[in-house]
């Protein structure tokens, strides 16, 4: 498939092999950490797979109310499934939602069953949660059918556009308009506050700031709107949201249930940019990725973000290291290469001499390091200014770099990046920009043959070797990656392992810990 197949492989292949070996060594203790803990959100996601829905009159989801009671009664360390299905088997309620309502009213007490009771609870839980996972698998097959019917985008890279009004009812027509004008993927970005909420809001919402809340109903509404437009334009339009923040596992689950197609899902973004506790994040991460693997969802990682706070030249190798780690964690969680929308970005200061060629070097490094991943190429943001003409120009060169280096997913940049969340006309102009570049110069990669010892190849290998050094440094730390994160290695953000939000929602698994979802998801 690769258009760049004929480009001479620029990278030192021994270094590539070594990079993967080192990443595995860095990743291993983190995976172990994830296996040894659970979180409130992992448990709630499990209950959601079991079928719980809805919220109390104040808007608190029943799943939160239920979990809080269970946790108060028996703690989190055994998982909620044993006590919850035990209660159901005891006849406390006929379904999870009713159970939650009763529990919230104080009329149910939970306990951890043992022996045969435990076995029966396990069986019941497995069955009910398994049904949830099967619903996710069914949505995946549905997607496959629709893609076959309506078709994939004609061109590479796929065109990815953001909507961000804060109001799902304004978002829908804007998303449909964008799709008609050529968008292949629509991402609904989230309201600023959502990632720190330890619950998933319910229902359709119109009240976001600079983004729209991720709710199951918003997912459903937007997927339906895009199905309508897919049919109309004869192309399956993909929908993206964010499995990120304190409710990552639950949102991943809802995404699977509502046939979302891609999810932002990075192993370190929440730690670095939302100050979420590292352990919480790694545990939630692994579960959410296992769900994505089942759902056939493509993840988008967030390395682009590092370059909004750190310099794109100085920190280029941190992007590569993070991509390698994201790859390691993703594969361990069961994701396939085609599901790895590894992120990187066009963020070199445009005043740096040869900045465009350096961007090409970085983009080709990623391309050649991850030949089978649909890399996600992010537009300039940091060096965008109120000069919208210049912004339009930078975006064009970003688009060109994307086309020349065979990126899989092109997040289309807006000329108003430094001013406002995108206007309707910004998206339209941005799409014209992309279309011109792909149509006029999309084939330029055929003529683009950086000499194997030239400027571009040299830069790519330099970043690769700096990445090896960094991986080695990380291994030199006592607690490996956790210490490196605490040190400000990524995005210049310092995040100690015992700091950040959401730590109170983490528990070390007890020997009797049981989670039917995890069990089923671990099975190959």
């Amino acid at each position: 498939m690769s258009k760049t197949g004929h480009m001479k492989l620029m990278l030192d292949q021994a270094a590539v092999r070594r990079a993967r070996a080192l990443s595995a060594r860095v990743g291993e203790p983190i995976v172990r950490l994830a296996q040894e803990h659970t979180t409130v959100s992992v448990e709630r996601a499990t209950l959601r797979l079991g079928g719980i829905t809805g919220a109390d009159p104040e808007g608190t989801p029943w799943v939160n109310r239920l979990l809080d009671v269970v946790r108060a009664d028996v703690g989190l360390e055994h998982g909620v499934s044993l006590p919850v299905w035990h209660a159901l088997l005891r006849g406390e309620a006929e379904d999870l939602t009713t159970l939650a309502q009763k529990a919230a009213a104080g009329s149910v007490r939970f306990q951890v069953p043992e022996g045969r009771e435990a076995t029966r609870a396990r069986t019941a839980a497995r069955k009910q949660v398994g049904a949830g996972l099967r619903r996710i698998a069914a949505r995946r097959r549905e997607r496959e059918r629709l893609v076959k019917r309506w078709g994939d985008p004609e061109q590479k890279p796929w065109i990815y556009l953001i909507v961000a009004t804060g109001d799902i009812y304004e978002d829908m027509p804007q998303a449909q308009a964008a799709a008609r004008e050529g968008a292949d993927i629509i991402a609904v970005i989230r309201s600023t506050g959502q990632s720190l909420l330890d619950y998933v809001p319910e229902g359709p919402t119109r009240e976001g700031f600079a983004g729209t809340y991720a709710t199951q109903e918003n997912f459903r509404l937007m997927r339906a709107a895009l199905d309508e437009t897919s049919r109309e334009v004869g192309r399956y339009i993909r929908l993206t949201n964010y499995a990120s923040g304190l409710c990552m596992p639950e949102i991943a689950t809802l995404a699977g249930l509502e046939r979302l197609d891609m999810m932002l899902n990075d192993s370190m973004y929440g730690i670095l940019f939302r100050d979420i506790n590292p352990v919480r994040t790694f545990v939630d991460q692994r579960f959410s990725r296992q769900v994505h693997a089942r759902a056939g969802i493509v993840i988008n990682t967030g390395e682009d973000n590092y370059l909004t706070t750190a310099d794109a030249m100085d920190a280029a190798h941190t992007v590569t290291v993070s991509q390698l780690l994201n790859e390691h964690f993703a594969k361990e969680a069961g994701l396939a290469d085609w599901q790895l929308g590894l992120g990187h970005a066009f963020e070199i200061d445009p005043d740096v001499p040869d900045s465009f060629r350096l961007e090409l070097a970085h983009a080709m490094l990623a391309r050649q390091l991850f030949p089978d991943a649909p890399l996600k190429w992010m537009p300039p943001t940091r060096h965008m200014t109120g000069d919208v003409f210049r912004g339009y120009l930078l975006n064009a060169f970003f688009n060109l770099a994307g086309a020349m280096t065979d990126q899989g997913i092109l997040l289309v940049g807006m000329m108003t990046e430094a001013v406002v969340t995108p206007w309707l006309s910004d998206r339209d102009l941005a799409l014209q920009n992309v279309r011109y570049v792909l149509n006029a110069a999309g084939g330029l990669h055929e003529d683009f043959r950086p000499p194997p010892d030239g400027f571009i190849a040299q830069r790519a290998n330099q970043v690769l070797s700096e990445s090896l050094e960094l991986l080695e440094q990380i291994l030199d730390h006592e607690r490996g990656l956790l210490d490196a994160i605490a040190d400000g290695t990524f995005g210049l953000m310092r995040r100690p392992a015992d700091g950040g939000r959401g730590l109170e929602g983490v528990a070390e698994r007890s020997p009797t810990y049981f989670n039917p979802a995890s069990e089923l998801l671990e099975a190959p």
Binding site: D167, T385, V388, T416, A418
Partner: protein, 277 residues
């Protein structure tokens, strides 16, 4: 010509749309002859904001300011305008005649004149942009439509570029032309307006009012509502096609014929009768 109001949205009021209905957001850029940098910057940005406020923007965000040499500053401003666009008060020059196919136009001309219609075309003054007038006149045409030369019942005399007004009038008289089509593309210092006025004045002088050929002017930057000010019968702007012009000419000649004949009733229906029978 009728100056119609936008029927589409009678009574409807709209506002600019950024990302939400009614938000009123617009983008603007301009230069002010004020310095920028150091102590000057705040005054310069304040000046830009003052202008935006006077234009009805509030809030107005000066999102970009850049010195261009020691005396000028370039600004980009975003903001909300509070004006309402009243769709029922929009002034447009609507096509007040039926659009004819070449065949229909030929038929109508034959019935009306019993001879070919003679059309003289030119870029007058020092303007040498012939592509626009050629698009209307040459067989090749424009936007997939053939030009007037393709119409069997139209005789086209294309005088080309940089034709002086006296030359144009003389040739019009010599050819006994029914209509004169002139093009003006250069607009700097209002060249197009000056040249058009000079032209129409010369025709007023050279012909008795009743015999004056139909005067049509075209070019990308004309305001179609300015016929009276410019002394011409019709103005065509950006995106005109040959059929627009041919149909108009048939209409205009039918109208004159009608008036000459002193016939009663609305001119329009007379022309339509001729054109569409």
């Amino acid at each position: 010509m009728t100056t119609a109001t936008g029927a589409a949205g009678a009574g409807r009021v709209v506002r600019p749309y950024g990302d939400t209905t009614g938000d009123g957001m617009v983008q603007m850029s301009f230069t002010l002859p004020v310095p920028y940098g150091g102590a000057h910057s705040k005054v310069a940005e304040g000046a830009a904001q003052q202008l935006a406020h006077k234009m009805g923007m509030d809030p107005a965000m000066v999102v970009h300011a850049k010195a261009m040499g020691p005396d000028f500053t370039f600004f980009v401003v975003y903001g909300r305008v509070h004006h309402l666009v009243e769709l029922d008060k929009v002034q447009v020059v609507e096509r007040d005649y039926p659009l004819l196919s070449p065949k229909e136009a030929n038929l109508a001309i034959r019935k009306l004149l019993r001879r070919r219609m003679v059309v003289v075309g030119a870029c007058i003054g020092t303007d040498a942009h012939t592509v626009g007038i050629d698009a209307i006149l040459n067989i090749k045409g424009f936007a997939g439509e053939k030009g007037l030369e393709y119409y069997r019942e139209v005789r086209v005399v294309n005088m080309g570029a940089q034709v002086s007004v006296p030359q144009l009038v003389a040739r019009t008289q010599q050819e006994k032309a029914d209509a004169v089509l002139i093009s003006q593309v250069v607009t700097q210092r209002d060249a197009h307006l000056l040249n058009t006025r000079e032209m129409s004045a010369a025709f007023r002088e050279a012909y008795p009012a009743a015999d004056r050929p139909v005067l049509v002017v075209g070019g990308p930057r004309f305001d179609e509502g300015m016929t009276a000010e410019l002394g011409v019968d019709r103005i065509f702007a950006r995106g005109t096609t040959p059929a627009d012009v041919a149909s108009y000419l048939v209409h205009a000649l039918a109208l004159r014929r009608h008036r000459h004949a002193g016939a009663p009733g609305p001119a329009r229906s007379a022309m339509e009768e001729v054109a569409l029978r």
